[in-house]
């Protein structure tokens, strides 16, 4: 049975700019030992979902069950029969975006705070605090004041504080957003290592897909209050369930057009008519019909630029090269195609500054979705 089960949770609220926003029918399951990421653009509802799980906010309706016990249940907004367990009794812990360490307590007391519930002896508390701080290599700093620590150290204290009472799940609310890139990557690896070593279960909110892809057992993609897809990083990368996911994960180009019969007899028999002169052979698979308006997505790295084409390949065009910029491991190029600009990431350097190159798009790397 899943450790955490979120069922049909919904909530409407007024966003910070006065707009009406909402969560719609959020369903989620988290198994023991997983690291689940809630990933999506700003305003998609991922933080609200996390806070509902934490008990810091109250959904309009739905159920939240943790380890077999009901934390929240409500049929609809006006209903009086509501189960709502306050956050301090849910057995969860949270790491906040700005760490939320208490400035008037030293490191030791910050971590010990959650352990001091009147039922633990002082020695027990001291042992648990030491264990938590040693896990993040900050035991030597236990007498320091918070203001004397660096950002990375503060974040580790926040993690130690969350871990100390042995919570069932740790909730992370964009904990690395306030850091510079180098520190962020180091912290990511540290927390991941901690997660695996201690067998933690975590829910991680982020808008950074690199983070989500690199850390998660499963990713929950959210957009405008809805869950768009739940899957492992590989699934989400290779098999985006919707146009949103395809456009959000990785760097993709989006091309809109109409489905036509494939003049080149490509594998699926269908092609995308982009404009009068350009059609793209489509792969087998997508459930589309001739005449339908669709969007195709292709990753920047899934296309290639060659100086001269091989004779047999499908989907090869000669295109004007507008911009190229060298990035060491790869080169980014912008080409004109079908009346629009495509960004292509090429692993091979482009020799010289040719006016045009040959663009090749392998049909199997194309993802197609109906225009909604």
């Amino acid at each position: 049975m899943a450790l955490l089960s979120v069922r049909n949770v919904g909530k409407t609220f007024q966003g910070s700019r006065g707009e009406i926003a909402g969560l719609h029918e959020i369903d989620l399951e988290v198994e023991q030992g997983e690291l689940i990421s809630l990933l999506g653009p700003s305003g998609c509802g991922k933080t609200t979902t996390l806070r509902c799980i934490a008990g810091l906010e109250s959904p309009d309706h739905g159920e939240i069950e943790l380890d077999g016990q009901l934390m929240f249940a409500r049929k609809d907004v006006g209903s009086r029969r509501t189960v709502e367990v306050p956050p301090e009794r849910r057995g969860l812990a949270m790491v906040f975006q700005n760490y939320a360490l208490w400035p008037h307590m030293n490191v030791f007391n910050n971590v010990a705070f959650g352990l001091r519930n009147g039922r633990r002896s002082r020695t027990d508390i001291a042992t648990m605090v030491e264990k938590a701080l040693r896990n993040v290599q900050l035991w030597e700093h236990r007498d320091r004041r918070i203001s004397q620590l660096s950002g990375g150290q503060q974040q580790r204290i926040a993690v130690a504080r969350a871990m100390a009472p042995d919570p069932k799940i740790i909730l992370f609310d964009e904990p690395l957003s306030n850091m510079d890139t180098q520190l962020r990557e180091n912290m990511r690896l540290e927390i991941l290592e901690l997660q695996e070593r201690m067998g933690l279960t975590s829910i991680w909110v982020t808008h950074d897909q690199q983070e989500a892809l690199g850390m998660s057992s499963r990713i929950v993609l959210m957009n405008a209050g809805r869950v768009e897809q739940v899957g492992t990083p590989t699934e989400v990368w290779n098999d985006p369930a919707s146009a949103f996911v395809a456009g959000f994960i990785g760097t993709t180009n989006r091309i809109a057009g109409t489905v036509v019969k494939d003049p080149d007899h490509g594998s699926s028999g269908l092609a995308l008519k982009v404009d009068e002169t350009t059609t793209v052979s489509l792969p087998i698979g997508p459930d589309i019909a001739v005449g339908e308006k669709v969007s195709m997505f292709v990753r920047t790295g899934a296309m290639s630029l060659v100086a001269s084409p091989s004779s047999e390949a499908l989907n090869v065009w000669r295109v004007p090269l507008e911009v190229q910029s060298f990035h060491g491991d790869y080169t980014m190029a912008v080409v004109r195609f079908g009346g629009m600009r495509l960004t292509v990431r090429s692993d091979l350097p482009i020799v010289g500054s040719p006016e045009s190159v040959y663009l090749h798009i392998e049909p199997s790397s194309i993802m197609v979705y109906p225009e909604s």
Partner: protein, 569 residues
């Protein structure tokens, strides 16, 4: 700075749903206490205007009391009040503005020192300053006048409009300074520099760029001084009576403490005064908008050390004269007078400590010292605790309850103290449990009247407390009570203590309500001093005044030191 507009860290409404963690009725109790504390007295005041007999006696409803509005020289009272208020405000604005300008822009030597000196007059009660000045410039035997005569200068009569307006303005200057200094500091220098680059001289830049930029602060300062001087009566009482100057506020005190006591008509005058006051303060809060509340500490531009020009020395002279006139001379004359067995401008009478002995033996003097100390400390602690809870409601629990608490707890700022005292008389005289007739009614008056000051500090403290720290506490498993005790309270305590300090010295200086409400045999220091002035007992008067001012300074310094120990975050 007056009433906190609720400009806290902006969070979407959804978040604050969590913040109502005291959703139990317990939160309503402190809010409800505001009703008998502040609202009911004002209602009783209104009731009193329609009563034919004094409170506690059986009377009938009547509109007769309102005849005070068109008889007995009411118009003269109004005119005098207006003259006093308008001129004091104008003078305070000019001098206070000049001081603020000097100490922020003109690179005056020892500017930091003078900056702290400027606020010292706030700790000296205006009426004590008036008394001191009456000894300096009394027409025949004033210390300064004697010196003037010796050098051949004309003497100055302090018992005149000049004296009344002068002293009132002097002790209003700190208020203006408190508003204009942060406003001037927060103006980006580049705005003035742009003007200079385009050819405008410094004077033109100050006039056409700087002043318009701080117009909201000037406006706020003007109105605060306006309201403050409207309720001022003690200076007029000390210096104006001989010159037949009477103002509305003094009349109210007279109608309740001397001669044929007429609390009904006093109530009418009080309602008029309060109405004008409330109107003035509403204009400040509404009309000037959110921009008026310039926060102290916002963007201090690095003072580009300009060359010491004429302006620097002009500023220095201004600061020195200001310090002399408001602090040095008055305190000096009081100390000197307290050490002389009898007034002697030639210092021929020798020196003695006997006056202090006389004061200690004077009936009521020592009691007044004890009462002032106890009531002020209790008022400070009471206001601090009360505002701790109320400020939490205002900042965290917005909506109607928060707005109600915010407005009601700020309202007393608009009510002149003697008016509130009259209201309390109407409310408590004749009630079974004797609050009136004991010294505890003074405590009620102090807490009600001074609550806005501690609320302002407490609300600011809460606004600076990120709600996420409370959320982190709850996520760590602490109960609401523990979060309140271990997280919220320690973090807002410095601000709350600062608010308590303000209440402390305001309570020590409070004379208007105290004079009306004190019961025989249980005076506070200002009341005792007033009595000594009226009876012409100068020996004890000097001694008590010196002890009084010394106490205020000691208390403020003491609490300040204590409060700093908390601020080591």
């Amino acid at each position: 700075m007056l009433i906190s507009t609720l400009d806290g860290p902006r969070r979407p409404v959804a978040r604050t749903r969590f913040a109502t963690w005291i959703s139990r009725p317990i939160v309503y109790i402190p809010a409800l206490i505001l009703i008998p504390l502040i609202i009911l007295p004002m209602l009783f005041l209104l009731y009193g205007t329609f009563q034919s007999a004094p409170p506690g006696q059986h009377g009938s409803w009547t509109g007769q009391n309102y005849d005070v509005l068109w008889t007995g020289g009411f118009l003269t009272l109004v005119m005098n009040s207006l003259i006093l208020v308008a001129s004091s405000t104008a003078i305070a604005l000019v001098v206070g503005g000049a001081l603020a300008l000097a100490l922020t822009r003109w690179n005056v030597p020892a500017a930091r020192f003078f900056d702290s000196v400027t606020l010292i007059p706030a700790y000296i009660p205006a009426f004590v300053g008036a008394i001191a000045w009456s000894f300096l410039l009394s027409p025949t035997s004033g210390y300064l006048n004697t010196a003037f005569k010796a050098i051949g200068l004309p003497t100055v009569n302090i018992y005149s409009w000049f004296g009344v307006i002068g002293v009132t303005s002097l002790y209003s200057i700190p208020l203006v300074y408190l508003y204009l200094r942060p406003a001037l500091l927060s103006v980006d220098r580049s705005l003035e520099e742009a003007g200079r680059m385009l050819g405008a001289g410094q004077a033109k830049v100050t006039r056409t760029i700087l002043f318009p930029l701080i117009r909201p602060a000037i406006f706020s300062a003007a109105l605060v001084v306006f309201v403050h001087t409207l309720s001022e009566f003690a200076v007029v009482g000390v210096l104006g009576v001989q010159a037949h100057i009477n103002v509305i506020s003094l009349r109210i005190v007279q109608l309740t403490t001397s001669g044929p006591v007429d609390p009904g008509r006093a109530a009418v005058l009080g309602v008029v005064l309060a109405a004008v006051s409330i109107f003035g303060l509403t204009v400040v809060v509404r009309g000037v908008g959110k921009n008026s509340f310039v926060t102290i500490g916002a963007r201090h531009n690095a003072d580009a050390p300009s060359n010491r020009g004429a302006a620097s020395y002009l500023g220095l002279v201004l600061c020195i004269v200001y310090a002399l006139v408001t602090v040095v001379l008055p305190v000096a004359v009081l100390v000197i007078g307290s050490l002389q067995p009898y007034l002697s401008t030639t210092f021929s009478s020798g020196w003695t400590f006997n006056n202090y002995v006389l004061m200690a033996n004077y009936p009521g003097a020592l009691t007044s010292i004890g009462n002032s100390l106890m009531l002020s400390v209790l008022a400070a602690v009471g206001c601090a605790l009360f505002s701790l809870i109320l400020a939490y409601i205002v900042v965290r629990r917005r909506g109607r309850l928060g707005a109600f608490v915010n407005y009601v707890s700020s309202a007393p700022l608009a009510v002149p103290h003697m008016v509130f005292a009259v209201a309390l008389i109407w409310m408590w005289v004749g009630t079974p449990f004797g609050l009136y007739g004991t010294k505890w009614i003074l405590l009620v008056a102090y807490i009600a009247l001074l609550l806005p000051y501690s609320m302002r500090a407490a609300v600011t403290a809460f606004q600076q407390l990120d709600p996420v720290l409370e959320e982190a506490g709850r996520m760590s498993g602490a109960s609401r009570a523990r979060v309140g005790l271990r997280i919220i309270t320690p973090l807002v305590l410095p601000g709350v203590i600062a608010g308590g300090t303000i209440v402390l010295y305001h309570a020590m200086q409070e004379i208007s309500a105290s004079l009306i409400l004190y019961s025989a045999g249980q005076p506070v220091i200002p009341v005792a001093i007033w009595g000594l002035v009226s009876n012409g007992q100068y020996a004890q008067l000097f001694a008590l005044s010196v002890v009084y001012v010394a106490m205020i300074f000691a208390l403020v310094a003491g609490v300040g030191w204590f409060g700093r120990r908390f601020a080591r975050l």
